[in-house]
């Protein structure tokens, strides 16, 4: 039976299979329930008792050991949908979400695909076709030009003309080069000649009569992206921006909305560019257009993510729009029912990604048992997670344990709320980046909103290491805990438990399984 809101839908559905796992599967399955839709989870052997299976009304087992046999097995997933009578598939993010062939297979199986058209995924998935299309559509891309340099000709004239068009500082590359060979940064016109000659020497073979590529060099750039929503009737709105500049090795760590770095004018320009980009591929559904924001305020198209993003909650908190619900509506062929001027921006939201990793040990991924897992709660605090207390964290999947999202009237208040929420987040048994996140958001540069994408990688460790622990106090507290008989159930070997072993009401007793 289709839910009431689907009335008049040309492509109605009533049962959604979620082709994913972890927090996003939990998120989508809950949204399905709220929308009056039945939800079906998928699980591999190691996910048999995972949270996303628990929250689903129904779950289908995928046989096999590898991801290719399970969460990446398009055939088995479509077969699972058929078997259980699901009439729609939501891919989440990652896994098969940006595989055009999967989108096609779902549709040709007669199921509703809760995602953009396969052609849009294809075009945007290829960097070169995306860049070409963006240039044609008038969306700003990082300026770059190819110059054919003929042997013996006066290269410098042509080069200087192109360089002036592209703008300084720029990056000079031999197209036939690679691996950094023949690649030079040029900061001003007067060093163009010497840098070109140096580059030519470095990649002599490549520069003889080859091609030189120059591209504007963006330093101190911020990562700002626009959330868009499009329906299949030509309706399209943008839901403002998210600033994801706080990254570690290109991995987003903190995301926020609005961006502290742009004003209303840039927001509107960027939003319009994002809608142009989406319309260029006849986009339908929720998507994200990523831009690099240069220090001079100019922005350039980076790529488009044709799926729901990890960081979508900050947009939901500030606009009050449930993006997964909107994905359902659009997939059902309904109109957005939302005009651009109706999109509001309320307060400030920040998301922190909680990873199972050890910041003090080179950010190595960590594994273990979440023996104690007490996420914070309270006004303006949201935790999206696929884990619960007692769960094993293994190396089989992504190390993201949870997303902690806070919402407050101002950025300052949101940072304070996030810091308190992080400090209340009890996660014991697996090393996490929680303390590191506190150190990062307490850094002066983050407070001032002036960080760029290199911030975490370039800031000296001492500035991010946090305060030294009061060791004597820790020892006194822990020795006292031992004396009081606490924490005795997590025997290291799972064997003998000493005389302090927990009483029947001791929660650790119920948790005690095979802790390695």
């Amino acid at each position: 039976m289709n839910p009431g809101w689907m009335e008049g839908s040309p492509t109605p559905f009533s049962k959604v299979l979620v082709a994913n796992r972890g927090e996003i599967a939990v998120r989508v399955l809950r949204a399905a329930r709220e929308s009056g839709l039945a939800g079906v989870a998928l699980y591999s052997d190691s996910d048999e008792s995972s949270l996303h299976v628990e929250v689903a009304e129904e779950a289908v087992h995928l046989e096999g050991d590898s991801l290719d046999q399970t969460y990446l097995n398009a055939e088995a997933i479509i077969e699972a949908a058929r078997e259980c009578g699901a009439d729609a598939i939501h891919p989440g993010y990652g896994f098969l979400s940006e595989r055009a062939d999967f989108a096609r297979a779902v549709e040709s199986a007669g199921l509703v695909w809760i995602g953009p058209p396969a052609e849009a995924i294809e075009t945007m998935g290829d960097k070169i076709s995306a860049r070409t299309l963006m240039i044609e559509s008038g969306v700003p891309v990082i300026p770059g030009e190819e110059i054919a340099v003929e042997d013996g000709a006066n290269h410098l004239g042509a080069l200087a003309t192109s360089a002036a068009r592209v703008g300084y500082p720029l990056l000079l590359k031999a197209s036939a080069g690679g691996g950094g060979k023949g690649m030079r940064a040029v900061s001003e016109p007067k060093s163009l000649r010497s840098e070109f000659e140096a580059a030519a020497r470095e990649a002599s073979a490549a520069f003889g009569d080859g091609t030189v590529y120059i591209e504007r060099l963006l330093t101190k750039a911020k990562h700002v992206e626009i959330q868009i929503l499009c329906d299949s009737h030509g309706g399209a709105v943008h839901l403002n921006e998210r600033d994801c500049s706080l990254q570690r090795r290109f991995q987003k760590v903190i995301e926020e909305a609005p961006s502290p770095a742009i004003n209303q004018m840039t927001r509107e320009e960027m939003g319009a560019a994002a809608i142009t980009a989406a319309k260029a591929v006849d986009y339908v559904g929720a998507g994200t257009v990523e831009f690099l924001l240069a220090s001079n305020g100019q922005f350039f198209f980076l790529e488009m993510n044709t799926r729901i993003q990890v960081e979508h909650p900050v947009t939901e908190m500030t606009t009050g729009i449930d993006l997964v619900q909107k994905q359902f509506e659009v997939a059902a062929g309904l109109m957005l029912g939302l005009e651009q001027h109706e999109v509001r921006q309320s307060g400030h939201a920040i998301e922190a990604r909680i990873y199972a990793e050890d910041p003090n040990g080179g950010f190595l991924p960590s594994t273990g048992t979440l023996a104690m897992w007490r996420p914070p709660s309270g006004p303006g605090i949201r935790v999206d997670s696929g884990n619960r207390e007692g769960d094993e964290v293994t190396i089989d999947f992504d190390p993201m344990l949870a997303k902690l999202i806070v919402h407050a009237p101002t950025r300052e208040a949101a940072i304070r709320r996030l810091d308190i929420a992080l400090s209340d987040f009890v996660a014991l048994g697996v090393r996490t980046n929680i303390d590191f996140l506190r150190n990062a958001i307490s850094h002066r540069a983050f407070h001032e909103g002036i960080i760029d994408t290199d911030f975490l990688d370039e800031t000296p460790w001492e500035e991010l290491a946090g305060p030294l622990p009061d060791e004597a106090k820790l020892v006194a507290v822990t020795a006292s805990a031992r004396r009081l008989g606490l924490g005795t159930a997590h025997s290291g070997t799972g064997e003998a438990v000493d005389e302090h072993s927990g009483h029947p009401g001791d929660p650790f007793r119920t948790l005690r399984r095979a802790f390695p």
Partner: protein, 166 residues
Amino acid sequence: MEWSVSDDNSRYKVTLEEGEGEVRASSMTKDGSEIPPPRVVVSDAGKLGRLLVESDGNHGFAHVVRFGDEWWVHIDGRTHVLKFHEQGGSGSAASEGSLAAPMPGTILELMVKEGQRVREGQPLMVLEAMKMEHRILAPRAGEVTKVNYEQGDRVDMGSVLVEISE
């Protein structure tokens, strides 16, 4: 019975006094020298591995979980792992110079062999886990006395990868 915090080498001994469900430190040594005991009073907060900690007149909670000799403590908004040493003195000699795998994974590349001298911080091997590569560095200078695995081997967390003597 001694305690240490994380990998820090300082060893602490503490004498506790107990009364009315409360425990406090009455004396403490750090690496054998007497230090003033921290002024904390700890009592069982009744449930869920939670303690009530009174420190210089301020009250707060601590959460504690034990894995063997490892004690995980969340207090004052931060998480710490303390090590309990039953025997006291330095830990077992065998584990002193050995390097355990910090995570389960596959050895992609082995950069040292037995008998080789290494300096502190020198890369010993590359371990792959969760589709990421991680370099295992020498914790200190010394001679590699044993290499327990070969390239391509899968290792569990805590497996002794190499042993390094002074």
